[in-house]
Amino acid sequence: MFRWKKAQDNPDVVPEKLESPINYKILSLILGTVASFQIYLYVAFPNADGPNLDLIVTIVSVITPVIASIAAFYVTKRYWYSKVFGKSYFALSLGILMNALGEVIYYILEQQGDVPSPSIADIAFLAFYPFAFYHLAKNIKFFKPKINIITKLFVIILPAVIIGVYAILEFAQTQGATTEFYLGLAYATGSAIILSGAILGASIFRQGILGVPWLILAVGLTLTTIGDNWYSYQGIYDQYTLISPVNSLWYAGYLVIAYALYKHKAVI
């Protein structure tokens, strides 16, 4: 006989295993939004030049890390005063905020004329790496105090390859160890180390529910790492423009990191 479904028809069953799957709709939404913005830039500013292009790109470049930073602060607040989660997420939120600050400084410098290289904005951008490194190291050291030799080799070899390839290509182009060479190398080194740490973190937690946010975090950091390296190459070959798709990698990276932080809050 037909009857309304009542709450007691579906008694709460304790799940045998905790699960928190990745919501691919959210990831699609992030990628879709970023791709739409990129298409808009191509259509509205085909020559990478326009009255408001600089401002529009700067606003989006500031908003995306700010969103990720707010998400990190929110997680920090949840674990406030705790030695591992509290401190490490606070460091991550400050690090991401440094990127937003870098964008603002860069925009201000640009309005005043040519931006020197390196500039104060670079200090803010580079400040992200020690903060992110602290976040990763704090968690890895606590949860995996002993790391086996294979993992150690991976942690050393992956960044070494990224830095090595970058250094060879850039050195050949710049024809010597210029300031630009060292600056690019600093970005490549920072991003490669962070990427390697994020992958190690995701591997530690992979069999637990916390593995999901760490995997998403690693994906987000991979996107920003690719962005950092690509930007440096574009800088060497003088190919960077405001409508370059490299910006989309950073936007997507920060939004994916924000989702990872939301997921962290949701699972534990």
Partner: protein, 215 residues
């Protein structure tokens, strides 16, 4: 069946009882109150036990921690142990010597040895396990205060059950032994360092040490 804390204490090894005191503080101090609540909630919904009770069957707590942290549970479990004791094998040439890291635990041990009756009780069962009436008789302690002090030592994990004796009326009576076989107290730069030689049985019966050392 859900164990009461008292029942559970009897089943747990003495060392586990000591470590149990650091469980919630370790999670709360490092990972926050919310994480502690999540772990407790999952432990209760899956096994119907509290965090303190879980240390009696550490594999259950291990399985819940692994659900949350995967392989990272190893680090957290080591932290439970290291917050209470550190192994002093290299220094003292005996793997069972441990230094007490937890100040409240060191205080508890010192207070127990500062109490004349408790010190006598611990001395009496230092080498061989005895039933309570025998302990009171050898230590020459009055029954009323003696039972209270023995119960206090059991609750604090300093006395552990080791074997039993059948009385003339057929009753099974537990025999108790001190959790440690030797103890040293050093004062270095205003810091009191308590080192204890754990009884072999304490190590063998400790489910957390068995789980952590297997890795």
């Amino acid at each position: 069946m859900i164990l009461t804390p008292r029942d559970n204490t009897l089943i747990m090894s003495g060392l586990d009882t000591l470590i149990a005191k650091s469980l919630d503080s370790t999670i709360k101090a490092n990972l926050g109150k919310k994480t502690l609540e999540k772990v407790e909630q999952r432990l209760f919904e899956k096994y119907g036990i509290s965090l303190t009770q879980a240390i009696g069957d550490f594999t259950k707590l291990d399985s819940v921690l692994r659900e949350f942290f995967g392989e990272g549970a190893i680090g957290l479990e080591r932290q439970f142990l290291e917050n209470v004791v550190t192994l002093e094998a290299a220094e003292l040439q005996n793997p069972n010597w441990v230094a007490i890291e937890d100040s409240s635990l060191a205080k508890l041990i010192l207070e127990s040895f500062g109490d004349e009756d408790k010190k006598n009780i611990l001395n009496v069962v230092l080498d061989e396990p005895r039933i309570i009436s025998e302990i009171l008789e050898v230590a020459q302690i009055p029954q009323t205060s003696g039972y209270r002090k023995i119960n206090s030592l059991i609750d604090n994990g300093l006395l552990i059950v080791q074997g039993h004796e059948i009385t003339h009326d057929g009753k099974r009576v537990n025999k108790y032994k001190s959790i440690f076989e030797n103890l040293t107290i050093n004062i270095e730069k205003n810091k009191v360092i308590v080192k204890v030689l754990l009884a072999k049985e304490s190590i063998e019966k400790s489910s957390i040490i068995q789980v952590v050392q297997c890795r």
